[in-house]
Symmetry: D2
Subunit: 436 residues, 4 copies
């Protein structure tokens, strides 16, 4: 297989214009265009992911492989891993994304023991390092797959068996080493099996203590090797388990405070996980910023009518506009980025479907960013907001917030108050939003 | 109106037997029967609530009053409040519940100003104190209604208007004073409007700081007046708002840690709120115990197929068995109890429907308690649980948990491990559960 | 009260341009602009509704009135009804909507008996007829409120009490008479209480037979008086009841076939009801067209994260584009229209919030219509669709569909077939959608 | 591998008593005990299924095989199929279930062409026929897997490619032939891919017409070969697709009426599918009986908090009591039965977990049946129901239902009616339920 044969094109996708007729072109994403003081590329920090694009065969709970990728069928696992890497880097080049992400198990064969897996991962890390010398792409983050193998069926760090905990430590150490070696900007943990199927066989307190210990050791190790990026936890309420401990940003916030990990560990948020937890994506982002937890974003999308993780490519410009509004208000990404933790549908079996999907979503993000930047510039939402809370700027209100008033004093003053409500202007603001 | 006329009976409901033919009798709740070292009454600490039973007229979003209670129609608000109290205490007597609960607005007319409301509440508190001298019933908790009046439409403590914050302080001070005067065992806060309808007009960080300040002042005041019961927050994810800050036990846990309120404020959990947040009731209870947050329970029930708070009387013995299993494992209630935050259906317009509902649910609780006590006694669930985690009792595992091992040491050891998963025995344990 | 004082303006809202600075102006809705062969106004057939805009006081299940409308407080019910009508017709004029809709109970006091209610409705119908002589507005449909009064708590046509059934007949007859008199284009039935709270007290079969009889009689009566518009059923799965018989378009389809009402009764579809039933709005519309059930649309919107009917103003241009694509494909409305069964949020207490909400949603609809018209003109979706199913145009495939092949013949032919799947192109098509 | 080695026992499970200490024993299911005029076994008609118990390897969307069954790993597909059959029939014997069910693809290798698949299925059918000569077990129903292979990714009968339709016909014909040969009591169709992922690429009307044609041909073929059991459709709203045409019983009802299949095709209902569609299981059963659609039941269970099909073993005695109440009211099963379309959890990796799961669920069903039979015998629910609707038994009400009254006549009579609502007694009835 030669890389150039997998996709129909071999020239990187270029920006054209909103009404271009070229199928494989950007219509809005113009990486060098300056928006709100940065190049679009530097705002958006797009990242392609290895797992959905190159490792997932197209199966679902009721059906098997549909994609029939050439690198999935063969006897020599390392040779297949190298073929896969060739196609992956070819896609990064075609899409011209500045970042990528991977799990250890996406890129290297697991072998017959952890020792063998560690070695395979090192070999592939060497290969990546070599490819990255000439490619433009950098590593947004690495991570370890602690959920697919049957040894993890009852959890990794929260497993009832301490040897599984140890195995997880071994995998994560190697994955962090690889991430560090490749100059990764962050390291991510998704606790897909850190939760339970039934409370009948689960000791929640004990498992949370195990998890706290795991992260404490991980943070210690990170400092020891001089890895400077943050550790990120990715909240998700459920699936694969019935209930995951990293349910949402608030649950992670509670956990980090309890185990004294605040500041060391941040969150990697995803829209699909947010809505499964009953939150909007903006809510989770805002909560993270309000509590100094924000790390990075997975820019996929769920289906509001489905109760599971569909990991579709984000296409909703309106929603993305709100996401970027939150982000820009807080100065944009630092180490984080927009990772496409998104998979083409099982029926999208043409190799070029991978390109169409990324292009369409990158364009949607670019449109969202442009709208958000204009809204912020014009104070479309920030202006009314400041006005709404203006009452709290008075000296008396500030004294209350500063703890200089007692309950009795305020209660006494309230006896003759008759505060009059004012309109929340929701529809007016929704109309404003539609203008950008 | 005479009390004895409202219900069809005037003798307290008595325990008979499981196969009794008496319509208004207990079949399982035998208050003096000893279970796991306490009288049933002391385990269950049942509490009837004022609002759903006596203040709600039977309306829903698409229809009005159905109950036509005599005390809801008249010109003299204080006289009506006294009539209502007569019927309420009559029901407490007939059901022989040891506790009741109320909001300020349930029991006293709001009047034309806070000053007037404060006065009315004091007058009713006097009336209650007098009734409680002869009645067996005590006060489980009091609370203030900070959500029904239009002044609170955009929140109470989190309102954009500091005068509304002040008004809320005034109401809560008075409600806590009343609770203290009546010997209440706890004081509860439900932040029904402490959240948002849309993020477009909401400054979440600012509002959370306001809320933190509110609770800090409330705790200070509680200590000042010598109120010894805990302050309880009642988590609920949404309804009436789109999103409430006290989403679930974990969100409250994060909030309490951030604003240094842990230990002072605990949670009052409700099944219906739990399932709206995507959790089982047992999950919330277990989370609360695992993080030393547990306070009290609202023992109603939601409908798994409906997306709103139905507040039905709990009737599911299987679920209640698990609730009491959690509770008994941790030594049962201290200040908390089982509050019937439950309303009879809008079509249950007979006065006796109030009795039937409480009786049926009290019996279901009694059955759940008996099953749970036997399970604990026989170690039906605790035995398999201890066995499952036995591996963590080894010296090496304990050293890991105690922070005496590094990531590298464990990773090195893991290189040759091959941990074998063992069955989680879920169906076996579910079968065990059905035997009790 | 003079009409001109209720809103801040007295000149009808005008179309300006997309970047107009006027707060109260249309930016996209230009009623006389021709799109796909019709004026925008004739495509969209906007209708304002009486109930949410003028009858709902701003309450929710946890709070009371917020709007304090002048016509809601007074002693003379008919005078208040007339005041309300003045403001309503003023809003119709300011928004320049071609249609309006109402329930009997929205416009006329219910009085002390059905006879009195019938008389009041006739008086208001006279008033409306008189106002409509000079106003531009017409009646899209009328309907009867068979769900708010306590007599309907257990259903109207499906009530266990035949006298309630009779009362419902009496109300519907009068409402249809009023609709006919005012030249209404349709008559709508929403069975808000035609369902159950619990199966324990419900005889479903019996109730469905009652409902079938009710519609049969209604259709007979409609023909008798010469009312030419269709009868429309409005599907909704639940709320206020636990389960409504008109769950979704398919459930209504099954009902209409069983009781031989197909062709006489059609559906009035709503986005919020669709998503509560687990469907997208486009799904319901497409199902209705595929089965010749389509009637009219309620153009409001739900909140995907909330489990109840929020009835918000539709603002999502992307979704509306798909709605109009369905509609235009099938030739657009005949008797139907776009009814704003939408309420401003409880906190939107300024009278002008009513205008802002309608304007923003009318503009969003106009944008959706324009996008849909261009997509259809260019065959953006229809082209790929025809290509996808082209295999079924062969003679053999057509013979199969025509019933000219047996199972055995086809099975025999299949023994050597090896059909190869082709890409569904979902992301490509989603990208296309974002271009319009 | 010898059969006796797979499970820990080789003696069939026996009925002991409610307080038996034997782990592998029935505590309530006593097959020969007479209940409501039939043996328990004849009421319950339990069926074990091949797919979940013997074909599913324990994977989920985030993890692979956990069970490592010996018959899943080898080179000789037919030899493995025979090994699997040995264990399956051993389990049928140990559980002493009177029925089993299978998909074609569960029992026979698919081979390289349909012809080869057909041959393999015939060979396995011969094996089954031979085993069934000596075993007690009979075939409840057979079915074809039209969803796992990639050729079906866009549907089977509703596929855009008529060759896939043909392939489906070929598979179903062979599966029905096998079912007929083995004396199957029913034939089941589950349309797992008969729906869509996105409306953007879907022609719903065309696909429904294809589906109608498919069933018409299948029914013709069934009659031709003299298969006397009904064809059953299994409703499910979604998963694997975004939307399935057989959404719920009502959607199937609409489809069957439209394509004139009523009476020939019935429904096979499942609790998990019901709740995914927003219905209780009892609702679907009642709907099916009310419209003469009832066929058979899958007796598994979903998790109310999860949005996907968990297919857990039914353990909730309270819910099962209602299921059997519906069933017994209508005379119980004719051709149908209780199929365990249920899988042990992914972590239940001990072979005996299969036995524990079936035993616990069979016992729960037995308890439900006993409770339901007593409720019916005593008229616990039927008595109050008859009383509630008694008003409809009057001559006037019957005349209305019989079509002997007009809308005008009834409306006229209603002018002076003032029907008074009566209590729905919901809590009272829920209490009654808990007594059985």
């Amino acid at each position: 297989m030669s890389d150039s044969r997998f996709f129909s094109i071999d020239r990187p996708i270029a920006f054209e214009s909103a009404d271009s007729d070229t199928a494989l072109a950007f219509r809005h994403y113009d990486k060098d265009r300056e928006v709100a003081g940065r190049r679009m590329e530097d705002h958006l920090r797009f990242s392609a992911c290895y797992w959905h694009s190159f490792t997932w065969p197209g199966g679902d709970p009721f059906g098997g492989e549909t994609f029939l990728r050439p690198w999935m069928h063969g006897d020599d696992a390392m040779a297949m891993a190298r073929s896969k890497a060739d196609v992956a880097f070819e896609m990064f080049r075609l899409l011209d994304v500045p970042f990528f992400t991977f799990h250890d198990a996406d890129v290297a064969p697991e072998g017959a023991s952890l020792a063998e897996f560690n070695d395979n991962l090192k070999a592939i890390t060497d290969l990546f390092a070599q490819k990255m010398e000439t490619a433009r792409v950098e590593l947004l983050w690495g991570t370890a797959n602690l959920f697919s193998h049957r040894r993890y069926m009852a959890g990794a760090a929260t497993n009832p068996d301490p040897d599984v905990f140890a195995y997880a430590v071994g995998q994560v150490k190697a994955a962090l080493d690889a991430t560090h070696r490749l100059g990764g900007a962050n390291y991510v943990c998704w606790g897909g099996r850190e939760g339970y199927e039934t409370l009948l066989n689960t000791d929640m307190k004990r498992e949370l203590d195990q998890l706290g210990r795991f992260f404490t050791m991980l943070v210690d190790y990170k400092h020891k090797i001089g890895f400077e990026g943050p550790i990120l936890i990715e909240p998700k309420p459920r699936e694969p388990t019935k209930h995951q401990y990293d349910f949402d940003a608030a649950a992670v916030h509670a956990f980090l405070q309890k185990y004294d990990l605040l500041g060391e560990v941040r969150v990697n948020l995803e829209q699909n996980h947010a809505i499964l937890a009953g939150h909007s994506f903006e809510h989770e982002i805002r909560y993270a910023f309000a509590n100094d937890l924000f790390g990075s974003l997975d820019v996929n999308r769920g289906d509001d009518l489905l109760g599971w993780d569909t990991d579709q490519f984000a296409m909703d410009v309106g929603e993305l506009k709100l996401v970027f509004h939150e982000l820009l208000k807080h100065g944009g990404f630092t180490t984080g980025g927009l990772n496409f933790d998104a998979k083409i549908r099982r029926q999208s079996i043409d190799p070029d479907d991978l390109l169409h999907a990324h292009i369409a979503s990158m364009d949607a993000c670019a449109q969202g960013l442009l709208g958000a930047a204009r809204m912020l510039e014009e104070g479309a939402l920030e202006g009314p907001l400041a006005k709404r809370y203006a009452g709290w700027d008075t000296a008396e209100a500030q004294a209350t917030l500063a703890g200089e008033r007692t309950f009795e004093e305020i209660a006494e003053r309230a006896r003759t108050l008759d505060p009059q409500p004012v309109s929340g202007l929701q529809e007016y603001l929704e109309g404003i939003l539609n203008r950008y």
